[in-house]
């Protein structure tokens, strides 16, 4: 059971995410879109989308950095004050994203705004799992203190073992159920990624920062400049 949930499932989710994601980008590029509904409803979207995107991006970034540099993270969090500040910021961001997500969900309810007209079943599935994921995250922060510390010695070794293809779920097997739910839900989201609008996350157009303003495409080879 442990192997199934913490080894097999993550691998399946990641493989599908990459495989289907790449296939979809190549064969059905047209289906890639952030599917914004701002044109239909903008007022509430502002209060939902901005907190959600900024909140969740910062939280994810913190997760990622702690995973990549657990040593540094451990040093930073060694002092109780810094630990407290980090957790407080994390919790605030968690509530900030939940607040945004709640608004995003309400505005998609039937009859609430024109955005409901473009809300698919998959959109709702995604919203629900995102909500569960952030809610369990916040709950862990509140009830299983101090996650940012024990994360380094439980989740990080486990994830690292997955990445290095030497899977070992021992460090997470004995964790509280709430924490395990957070992990599983995380990989459910990875699984949903290629089948939903979540694909827009990997299309973040960073290249815009340095590409020339204008794009000109020629059908035939152009002769060299003069």
């Amino acid at each position: 059971m442990q192997t199934l949930v913490f080894v097999v499932f993550p691998y399946v989710a990641v493989l599908l995410a990459i495989g289907v994601g790449v296939y979809r980008r190549r064969a059905r590029a047209y289906t890639y879109s952030a599917l914004s509904s701002q044109l239909l409803e903008g007022g509430r979207l502002f209060w939902g989308s901005v907190p959600w995107h900024y909140g969740i991006t910062l939280i994810l970034l913190a997760h990622l950095l702690a995973f990549l540099f657990p040593g540094v993270a451990g040093l930073i969090l060694a002092s109780p004050i810094r630990l407290f500040v980090a957790e407080a910021i994390g919790l605030a961001l968690g509530f900030y994203s939940i607040f945004g997500l709640a608004i995003l969900m309400v505005r998609r309810l039937p009859g609430q705004s024109r955005a409901s007209a473009v809300s698919s079943t998959m959109d709702w599935v995604l919203l629900l799992f995102l909500a569960v994921q952030v809610a369990t995250g916040v709950a862990v922060a509140l009830f299983d203190r101090w996650g940012s510390l024990w994360f380094l010695s439980s989740a990080v070794p486990w994830l690292r073992s997955l990445v290095l293809l030497r899977p070992d779920a021992a460090t997470v097997a004995g964790l509280p159920l709430l924490v395990q739910a957070h992990f599983v839900c995380g990989f459910v989201l990875v699984l949903l990624f290629p089948f939903s609008r979540l694909v827009h996350v990997v299309m973040l157009p960073a290249g815009y920062l340095w590409r020339p303003y204008q794009v000109v495409i020629w059908n035939r080879e152009r002769r060299a400049h003069d």
């Binding site: 914004s36 044109l39 239909l40 939903s196 973040l204 000109v216 495409i217 152009r222």
Partner: protein, 495 residues
């Protein structure tokens, strides 16, 4: 010199009767799909008016186009990093209500009504939500000055005009308006393309048509704000931006675009221009009052041997050069200087040019009899619409430039009237010619292209014949049977 070819247009506003045939031809062909109902790639506005979407010309609000910053040109919308930070919510995006919520009627209640005492009624339902709705506005709510106290009176181009003139403009006896058909200008310096974070909007090298790659587009919506003419539209159903494609599948098979082909007033001209792409940035940076002239100077003389040599060196085909030499656009824009770009101060270098309308002069009501002055169309001084207003539309406020155009247009009228009706003294004709800085030969040519030009003279399309060319060397059967141009699967939302 980097010679390129640009498909360009001239709209002769004097001839537009505001029938909207062009808009419908376009709608029937391209924008009948879900998510595109509210889009009018081609629309016809009444001016003065607030246009479609409402107040699109107000760049303080929408921040479309470019601005000059020292010796650099930058997007008015935002910095690049600023745009990326606004991907989750674009603060400068018009809402659907700034266009209008598209609707249909429940026609079934009429056709399926049982025998009954009362008349059945078809009620409007939204094409977005499919629910019943109250119609509050449409794409042409202010047609022919309808509701002018809310619409026409708020035209951003009236800003620089004093109270008194403004009040007179809307007196019933002096009411004046004209039609302004608009579509994508296929600009030389498109700000929609520059604003696209995904780099999905591109200009085709061979003909300069600006397109949105439907596969690269991620629906970030920055192009909508970036285009000062609001001619890129967000398809709320598929999550992709769409715009006028200048009917390129038609152009490639030597047919005029649908809006132009169907134009009842025959106001539309299309042809290619050769221009120097090396100078685009430098020209777009010029001060406001130099813009019209500078843009004209970008356009090269297609009969000049040096230009032809440079064009050939860049691989421009003989057929294209020949078409450029016969281009009606070249005549109106460069040779006669009669056609002006819309809002050159947006600095996108639009390649759709307008011949401004000759407006009727002021009349007066005496004892219930309406009198106009004798030269109904031939006096600039008593024109009913302030020159200032036209300058705000077509020359970034430079009234002298507009007057120049009008002097020549009036010369054509006076000269032809003298010739056909004979009630104009030779002295008056000579005076008009001198003021208009023109000659009888030029007037004949203008008259011909304006009034008598045949289909082939109005639309000079080079032999791109791309489809036919590909057919010669490749098997295209499978693609064609699979649904024709581009898409093999019906465009739908997400996965």
């Amino acid at each position: 010199m980097d010679v390129r070819c640009q498909v360009s247009m001239v709209f002769h506003l004097d001839k537009c009767i505001g029938c909207h045939t062009c808009s419908l031809a376009c709608k029937n062909l391209w924008t009948g799909r879900p998510g595109t109902e509210y889009m009018w790639w081609n629309n016809v506005e009444t001016k003065p008016g607030t246009g479609y979407p409402t107040l699109y010309e107000d760049q303080e609000e929408y921040r479309g186009g470019w601005e000059v910053d020292g010796d650099r040109l930058r997007l008015k919308l935002d910095t690049r990093a600023g745009e990326l930070l606004n991907l989750a919510f674009n603060p400068r995006l018009p809402s659907l209500d700034d266009y209008y919520e598209p609707w249909t009627y429940t026609y079934e209640t009429l056709t399926d009504a049982p025998l009954q005492d009362d008349q059945p009624v078809a009620v409007p339902v939204s094409l977005v939500t499919r629910r019943e709705m109250e119609i509050e506005a449409g794409p042409n709510w202010d047609d022919d000055l309808g509701g002018s106290p809310i619409y026409a009176a708020n035209d951003p181009n009236l800003k620089g005009i004093d109270e008194e003139t403004r009040r007179r403009l809307f007196e019933t006896e002096r009411l004046v308006f004209f039609y302004l058909p608009r579509m994508c200008n296929h600009c030389l310096n498109p700000s929609c393309a520059a604003a696209c974070p995904a780099g999905a909007i591109y200009k085709r090298g061979e003909d300069g048509i600006v397109l949105v790659s439907q596969e690269q587009c991620m629906g970030w919506r920055m192009c909508i704000s970036g285009c000062p003419y609001k001619k890129v539209y967000y398809n709320w159903f598929t999550g992709k931006s769409e715009k006028c494609i200048l009917c390129y599948p038609r152009l490639e098979t030597q047919q005029a675009p649908a809006c132009m082909h169907s134009c009842v007033g025959r106001i539309r001209y299309l042809g290619v221009l050769l221009y120097d792409a090396d100078r685009i940035e430098e020209v777009a940076r010029r001060p406001d009052h130099e813009l019209v002239e500078a843009q004209r100077s970008l356009i090269l003389d297609p009969c000049d041997p040096d230009v032809i040599r440079a064009a050939k060196a860049k691989g421009i085909e003989d057929g294209v050069i020949a078409a450029a030499q016969r281009s009606p656009v070249y005549q109106y824009v460069k040779v006669w200087g009669l056609a002006l770009p819309l809002h050159p101060e947006f600095r996108t270098l639009p390649m759709l040019f307008y011949v401004p309308p000759l407006l009727p002069v002021t009349g007066s009501v005496d004892d219930g009899v309406y009198e106009t002055s004798a030269d109904f169309f031939s006096s600039l001084e008593s024109a009913r619409l302030p020159i200032r207003y036209l300058a705000s539309l077509f020359t970034a406020g430079d009234e002298e430039k507009v007057v120049e155009v009008y002097r020549k247009l009036i010369a054509v009228r006076v000269y032809k009237r003298g010739e056909t009706v004979g009630d104009v003294t030779p002295a008056r004709v000579a005076e008009a010619l001198e003021l208009g800085r023109t000659t009888p030969e030029e007037i004949e040519a203008i008259y011909r292209l304006t009034s008598l030009a045949s289909f082939e003279e109005r639309f000079v399309i080079p032999p791109f014949a791309r489809e036919a060319a590909i057919n010669l060397i490749q098997l295209t059967q499978t693609r064609q049977e699979g649904g024709g141009m581009g898409f093999l699967r019906a465009p739908r939302r997400g996965l």
